[in-house]
């Protein structure tokens, strides 16, 4: 017979207000095997904790139930109390009689009865708990950062500066991400590249950062502290060490394709450098575009002919590099919502309907127009520009329900900068609300309105269409209720922020979850915002949710700190409530192997075997087993069965 102690917390009046805690303690005292039951005003307080440890020692308790608030809050607290008092922490369980009882009911007697049922079932559970020791694993002291945007750059630098090796993987030929495309940044209006490039250089020069551009994560296995990652290095066909950046090759390359850096507003050659300050500073041959590459019929090779240092090597092959890392930071960033989805705003039909990033390029001194704002169609200066916010955001019916967050600010910036370039022009902004939470943001928006006379119109645009050279914008001003028609020269859509292309596939490889909108899901919306649900994998930047630069950088440093917290350990400890196989019942049908989300189960000699380090203890295996031959420690079918009986008084 067990010796169980039950401790009922009043939580001031939070519990005692609705639940008759004295009665709960009294009833539980009658429960077979319960040798001690008491109530106290705040169990989590020092005196409360002392009560528990005192009782454990004096009454020789071997199991403890604390009936109090949700286990998410004080489970650790009380398990530590038990531990210090000499009990195995897994012999202490929490009965949640606050969040799931006292706070949600009014009828005192019914709430009390329910509290008793809940506590009883937990008593029956804990009595069947075994003492467990945490599982320990060594740590590979190296981090992988996926994505070379500002978030990835920041995370890499922070981890590297903490003294750990970092492998930074970037899909495109250069790091820098979208930030490198921006003209100026709100609310300070300092030049984006001017503040970004020093960090890019720092990355390139950092002794502990291994930069792998034009590379993609192919396969991830292993677990926190011990990931194995396969990285595919795509061939650039240019040897960066030999390349002198003379740019002769692009002059002779006959192929022109849209330049993704300029968001297609200009063209680039099949051999190209994404932008002058690209890191690594070297050229890349776009194998999809280059005729010399696969279609041997047109063996071009002009670039190779003019390349004096002979940096061009058509025989370069893709290579797969396998690396061991202890932690992973995912910073894969965002793309803009595909504008072709917004037919109502005439995108695609009209060259002068642009998205935010295209407008950034127009504004950028290094952009296609060298910083002059000209209409793509006729290179004329637009005198009337309409900015449309929430294009695709906050639109649950047709597009995306969420707010893309940064559009309010960058649209204000766009309008402002437009006015700085075109003094006699007029900027209109259609908005639903203006969300300018953030340091100096509100002031920034006011500046746009007051100093630069940007005209804000509250309402949605119903339609954009062309009428002899003008873009006619139909909208409603919901404040005045008036129909509005503006004949504009240019329309700029603040498109919704989407997770970058390929985020879903990557998430699958990493076995991390996505939220309903396709962004990477954090472990807890408030308390664990930079952790994924898979331990050892952290999130930074817009891949987790739309963010502006300071937020992305902040989160990146947070993720880095989390990663460092792991890398700085010699060994890691892992919850021991993992699956166990009862070999005599197991028939080796491998259903559990099939269902395990973590590939933690394998078959050896016809029986299932659990890798305790990989196992997260979800129990999906146990429900799939027809013979209860695999069970999660301390939450076995036996525990559940007895909990059911106890709470039903049967």
């Amino acid at each position: 017979m067990k010796r169980t102690g039950v401790f009922v917390c009043h939580c001031g009046i939070n519990i005692a207000g609705t639940v008759d805690v004295k009665k709960v303690a009294a009833e539980l005292a009658k429960h077979p095997g319960v040798v001690h039951a008491e109530d106290y005003v705040y169990m989590c307080s020092d005196p409360g904790q002392n009560l528990i440890s005192k009782a454990i020692k004096e009454k020789k308790l071997d199991t403890v139930v604390v009936a109090c608030c949700s286990p998410t809050l004080h489970e650790t607290t009380f398990r530590n109390v038990a531990k210090i008092a000499g009990l195995n922490p897994y012999r202490c369980e929490i009965a949640n009689i606050r969040e799931q009882c006292s706070w949600v009911h009014r009828d005192r007697s019914k709430a009390t009865q329910k509290a008793i049922s809940i506590t009883r079932s937990v008593v029956e559970k804990v009595r069947r708990n075994e003492s467990l020791e945490d599982v320990s694993v060594p740590v590979t002291k190296r981090a992988l950062v996926i994505g070379g945007g500002i978030a990835g750059i920041q995370a890499s630098l922070d981890i590297a500066n903490a003294g750990f090796e970092v492998i930074l993987v970037e899909r495109s030929p250069s790091i820098g991400g979208h930030m490198s495309q921006l003209s100026e940044t709100f609310p300070t209006l300092d030049c984006s590249q001017c503040i970004l490039t020093p960090k890019m250089v720092e990355v390139a020069k950092h002794p502990r950062i291994k930069l792998m551009t034009y590379s993609e994560v192919q396969e991830v296995s292993g677990f926190v502290g011990n990931f194995k990652v396969k990285i595919l290095k795509k061939p650039t066909y240019v040897d960066p060490d030999k390349c002198t950046l003379c740019d002769e090759c692009t002059k002779v390359c006959p192929i022109v394709v849209p330049n993704e850096f300029d968001m297609g507003l200009t063209g680039r050659r099949a051999i190209y450098i994404p932008f002058p300050q690209a890191i690594p500073a070297t050229y890349t041959i776009d194998e999809k575009a280059c005729p010399g590459m696969f279609d041997t019929a047109i063996a071009c090779g002009k670039c190779a002919d003019v390349c004096k240092p002979g940096a061009i090597n058509f025989d370069m092959k893709p290579e797969v590099v396998e690396v061991d890392v202890g932690a992973i930071v995912v910073a894969t960033g965002y793309d803009l919502y595909d504008k072709s989805m917004m037919a109502e705003y005439g995108y695609g039909k009209y060259p002068d309907v642009l998205d935010g990033l295209q407008f950034e390029r127009l504004l950028s001194a290094s952009g296609p127009t060298r910083g002059r704002i000209l209409r793509p169609s006729d290179k004329k200066e637009p005198k009337e520009v309409v900015f449309i916010q929430c294009a695709g955001s906050r639109d649950p019916e047709l597009h995306w329900p969420y707010c893309s967050k940064i559009c309010c600010m960058y649209t204000a910036k766009h309008a402002m900068l437009y006015k700085h370039h075109v003094h006699d022009g007029q900027a209109y902004i259609f908005y639903i609300d203006i969300r300018s939470g953030g340091k100096n943001y509100e002031e920034f928006v006011h500046r746009a309105v007051e100093e630069d006379g940007v005209l804000y119109l509250r309402g949605k645009v119903s339609r954009v269409f062309e009428d002899n050279g003008k873009l006619i914008v139909w909208g409603v001003d919901t404040l005045t209720g008036k129909q509005i028609e503006i004949a504009a020269d240019m329309v700029v859509l603040a498109m919704a922020i989407r997770p970058s292309k390929g985020t879903e596939e990557l998430a699958k490889k990493l076995k991390i979850a996505l939220d309903k909108d396709g962004f990477l899901a954090e472990a807890h919306p408030k308390l664990r915002p930079v952790e994924s649900m898979t331990s050892g994998i952290f999130l930074a930047g817009a891949a987790q949710a739309p963010k502006d630069i300071p937020e992305a950088v902040g989160q990146a440093s947070g993720a880095a700190a989390k990663a460092v917290a792991i890398l700085s350990q010699e060994r890691l400890f892992h919850s021991p409530t993992v699956a166990r196989v009862l070999r005599n019942l197991c028939t080796g049908c491998a259903m559990c192997v099939n269902v395990c989300p973590y590939e933690a189960i394998s078959l050896k000699e016809g029986k299932a075997v659990v890798n305790e380090i990989l196992c997260e203890g979800c129990g999906t295996c146990s429900a799939s087993c027809l013979r209860n031959a695999i069970q999660v420690k301390n939450l076995t079918p036996y525990h559940i069965q007895e909990m059911i009986r106890a709470c039903l008084g049967g």
Binding site: K30, P32, R120, G649
Partner: protein
């Protein structure tokens, strides 16, 4: 005491037995069953015998011994539950099943009387019905010292003479059943007696299956106890409980505590049928199982019926009803097996 009752008067006889719970043969989806349904007024012409033998009315599949309850104040309290003493009459008991009850009496009686069994047994009157046709093509009662008109274990034996029954009251209990409605019964004439004799004799001739010199079996079984004979014979066995659960003489049981609630601890101790054919029947908590395979379990079943029981009570623990033969899903035929057992190595 020997009487005649017209079938037309049979329902009135039933009426006169209101003090009893009356069981009569009833056609069920799966065969014949003994039912206490009040509509029943007669024994149907085409009645053979019930799939589930009458043993279940005396030795039910579930028997509650006692209830227990524990509370902190005064420890554990026990409350014995004896079967509610309801008088019952079972009509249409075939002679083999009657003999089976006799065999059960030996098991549950003797030095220790099982109170639960006897409480029911003493309240039960068995009204037999002699077989004019063998109820099954696998009947072999003659080979195990029984007969289609055996009276052993019965209180009354009816013989169907077409429009009337020849009623022979064997025990006092049986006689009292007639006296309750004496007006319905007339004295049998010689014609009736002859008819009865004839039916009994012819019935014996109609029995197709035989297990010659069964009395030799105990020795033969001992002789081949350790041979691989049993492995061969049990190859088909599914280790199900049909042969034993539906055997009129099998009486093995299991006892379990069924807890109803934990706080306070409440529950009951229950006896249920069990069978030597289930692998867990002889399972030790150590994990050792003295009868690990189907061979040893088949051997046990036959040894119990044709060896141990004879040593104990000098009679077979098989009444030759043939149910196990008919109902075995894989055609394990006790008659064939025993015949082979007798010849094995001989």
């Amino acid at each position: 005491m020997e009487k005649i009752i017209q079938k037309s008067a049979f329902p009135q006889w039933l009426k006169s037995l209101q003090a009893f719970k009356i069981f009569l043969p009833k056609r069920a989806s799966y065969g014949w069953e003994l039912s206490s349904n009040h509509e029943l007024q007669e024994i149907p012409e085409d009645y053979t015998y019930p799939v589930v033998p009458p043993k279940k009315l005396i030795f039910p599949q579930e028997e509650i011994f006692f209830e227990f309850e524990q509370n902190p104040e005064d420890g554990i309290k026990l409350k014995e539950i004896l079967p509610e003493a309801e008088q019952q009459v079972i009509f249409g008991v075939r002679p083999c099943d009657g003999r089976a009850v006799k065999a059960m009496d030996l098991v549950f009686g003797g030095t220790y009387e099982d109170p639960y069994y006897w409480r029911r047994r003493r309240q039960t009157v068995l009204v037999g019905l002699a077989c004019s046709q063998p109820p099954s093509e696998n009947c072999f009662c003659l080979s195990v010292e029984g007969s289609p008109s055996s009276e052993e274990g019965l209180d009354i034996l009816l013989t169907d003479l077409g429009d009337r029954y020849f009623v022979k009251a064997i025990t006092e209990q049986g006689k009292s059943l007639l006296s309750a409605a004496s007006s319905l019964f007339s004295e049998p004439g010689t014609r009736d007696r002859e008819a009865r004799e004839k039916i009994h004799l012819e019935a014996e001739k109609k029995i197709k299956r035989h297990l010659p010199s069964a009395r030799e079996l105990p020795e033969r079984i001992k002789a081949i106890f350790d041979s691989d004979f049993w492995d061969e014979e049990s190859l088909n066995c599914l280790r199900c409980g049909i042969c034993t659960y539906l055997c009129p003489t099998c009486h093995c049981f299991d006892i379990n505590d069924e807890t109803k609630s934990l706080a306070p601890l409440k529950g009951r101790r229950v006896r249920t049928w069990d069978t030597c054919q289930f692998p867990d029947f002889t399972m030790h908590s150590s994990g050792h199982n003295p009868r690990p395979d189907r061979a040893s379990r088949l051997r046990q079943r036959l040894s119990h019926k044709f060896l141990y029981f004879i040593l104990l009570f000098d009679r077979f623990q098989c009444v030759g009803c043939g149910r196990c033969v008919t109902l075995c899903p894989v055609g394990i035929d006790i008659i064939e097996v025993l015949t082979r057992a007798r010849n094995h190595g001989a």
